[in-house]
Amino acid sequence: MKTNDMTKMTYRDAIRLGITEEMRLDRDVIFLGEDIGVYGGAFGVSKGLLEEFGEERILDTPISEGAIVGTAVGAATTGLRPVCEIMFMDFITLGLDALVNQGAKMRYMFGGQSQVPMVLRLPAGSGAGGAAQHSQSLEAWLCHVPGLKVVTPSTPAQAKGLIKAAIRDNNPVCFIEHKMLYDSVGLVPLDEEYTLEIGKTIVERPGKDVTIVAYGTTLAKAIEAADFLEEEGIRVEILNPLTLYPMDMKPIIESVIKTGCLIVAHEATKTGGVGGEIVARVVESEAFDYLTAPIVRLGGLDVPIPFNQELESAAVPQRNDFVHSVYRLLNRE
């Protein structure tokens, strides 16, 4: 269906719509994971899919992440296009051998013979009181593995566009969803051919004074901060690296050349985080000469996510961290 129509829907519904459309278009797309059938997925993403596609394509698995990912790799190399739901990103640890040592490397080490078109959906992030084993943002690990692609949508439209692109991609794509975004609402294109190109960083909000690079719920906090700062006449430019790996640096470098100030931010722990890589690439580039102040890196504290609600929110960057960082960069404090 080709259309210019847009409809308001949640991030959750947008992911489901993307998967549904791709499953209708391509019989090779199958979906596997724990409790994705009758239960509809722990976060409700797969609700109704069993009714439409049946047990042959919506595969409720035992609690066996190693087998889920391994099966997906094997199915992908032999002609199917599996989408997997790992109930919480934290449990990708149990599927990492299949992903990192098998799926990610196969094509290269076999001299380009195989392709592994699969998607791992990974609900990540804190805020829901899941504590240390249900709240992690482990994207940096995945960004350290050539052969994988890592994408993360921050709005419903991005969610639909990226999940479709991920399913169509011929490589293993880790699709990171932030669980605090599932209920967020936005306009989503209904066009079946609407996809978002993997490997693109986008400008979420144009500005001129300070560049912020952020994604996930951290992006929403950056936008709130930018709204607030705009009332004071400060115009923040916000970039969203929809693909974390391999990352499109060009728009970031261009933005830093324009503003001279850079803040990178994410919920994942700061040490070894994706932000550090962005910073390194900026200072390696021609943008280095344009920097007018030290770069600011906002990230999660280097601690496991604590259960207590106040501690939990103190563990990750908040709106005010952006505001203060911008003030500091512009010497307004």
Binding site: E34, D35, G37, V38, Y39, G40, A42, D60, P62, I63, S64, G66, A67, D90, F91, L94, A128, G129, G130, A131, A132, Q133, H134, L301, D302, V303, P304, P306, F307, N308, Q309, E310, L311, E312, A314, A315
Partner: protein, 320 residues
């Protein structure tokens, strides 16, 4: 038959009730939005969780599942500190950093409840290795659910425990579902205990709602493991009355099924036993129940009055 003293029976009944009331209260608090995050209730599974722990000797260790409140109460944890942890308070077992899913009392041998399904199997092997190495004569009791026996970790751990003859008892609460997935869909063996055959260790299936069956079987299994004969796998057949968690709409099971199982409520079964055998007067039974309720009400009060952790504790305890 193992002799049960009146004092022990009293403790059993009291703890079963404590476990039930603890979760009823916690469920209520959750309904009111006063609990951050998720809690997994084990109502209906008290005989399994509580009795298995009551069979332990002083100094034995446990690894708890994510559905671990009854297990923890059976092991002797303080309900005040448990409730405080569930509410994220400084006075809780983990200083508010763990919550319901991670209640631990390591010093006293509770190695912790586990948020990762199957996460306890390997840990239990390791803890059992320590006992064997240090010749402590202690045994590790490892709790998990039916769904957890589908993990690779379960199979690797049972194999390892078997070849090394580790003093560990794997206690599986088969409550018929791994979240929404019924046992008959998620595994292809009739009994989970059949899985023991692959590792050449004893495997037993028991009525997990029968306090005596649980107590007696675990007692024997612990004796076996303690004697250096190696691990034992026990499958306790039981049922959870509530949903997997708050957000579970329970579309995968019929209400009738829940009703049928409620008739086999382990608390009712134990009460019947006490009545039939005229072990305690009706008044004594009532008194025990009341005392259990009061202990939980006090726990809620304690937890609510307790302070939240100071913000600066956020950086504490990452490293030893």
């Amino acid at each position: 038959m193992i002799e049960l003293s009146e004092e022990l029976l009293l403790r059993m009944y009291y703890k079963m009730n404590q476990a039930r009331f603890f979760e009823e209260k916690l469920g209520e608090l959750e309904e009111k939005g006063q609990v951050h995050g998720t809690v997994h209730l084990a109502m209906g599974q008290e005989a399994a969780g509580v009795m298995a722990c009551l069979a332990l000797e002083e100094g034995d260790l446990v690894s708890l599942s994510h559905r671990g409140h009854a297990q923890a109460i059976g092991f002797g944890l303080d309900v005040n500190l448990m409730m405080a942890e569930c509410l994220g308070k400084e006075t809780g077992y983990c200083k508010g950093k763990g919550g319901s899913m991670h209640i631990a009392d390591v010093e006293n041998g509770n190695l912790g409840a586990n948020g990762v399904v199957g996460g306890g199997f390997g840990l239990s092997c390791g803890a059992a290795l320590t006992q064997k190495y240090q010749k402590t004569g202690k045994v590790v009791l490892c709790f998990a659910g039916d769904g957890a026996t589908d993990t690779g970790s379960f199979h690797e751990s049972l194999n390892l425990a078997s070849i090394w003859k580790l003093p560990v008892v794997f206690f599986i609460e088969n409550n018929q579902y791994g979240m929404s997935n019924p046992v008959e869909n998620h595994m292809n063996v009739e009994n989970i205990s059949d899985r023991s055959e692959a590792y050449n260790i004893p495997g037993l299936t028991i009525d997990g709602n029968d306090f005596l069956d649980v107590y007696n079987t675990v007692t024997k299994a612990l004796r076996y493991a303690r004697a250096g004969k190696g691990p034992v796998l026990i499958e306790a057949i039981t049922y959870r009355f509530s949903g997997h968690s708050k957000s579970d709409k329970q579309l995968y099971r019929e209400e009738q099924e829940v009703k049928e199982w409620r008739k086999k409520d382990p608390l009712l079964k134990m009460k019947e036993y006490l009545r039939e055998n005229r072990i305690f007067t009706e008044k004594q039974i009532q008194k025990m129940e009341n005392e259990a309720i009061i202990s939980i009400e006090q726990a809620v009060e304690f937890a609510k009055k307790s302070p939240s952790p100071q913000l600066d504790t956020i950086l504490a305890d990452v490293y030893a």
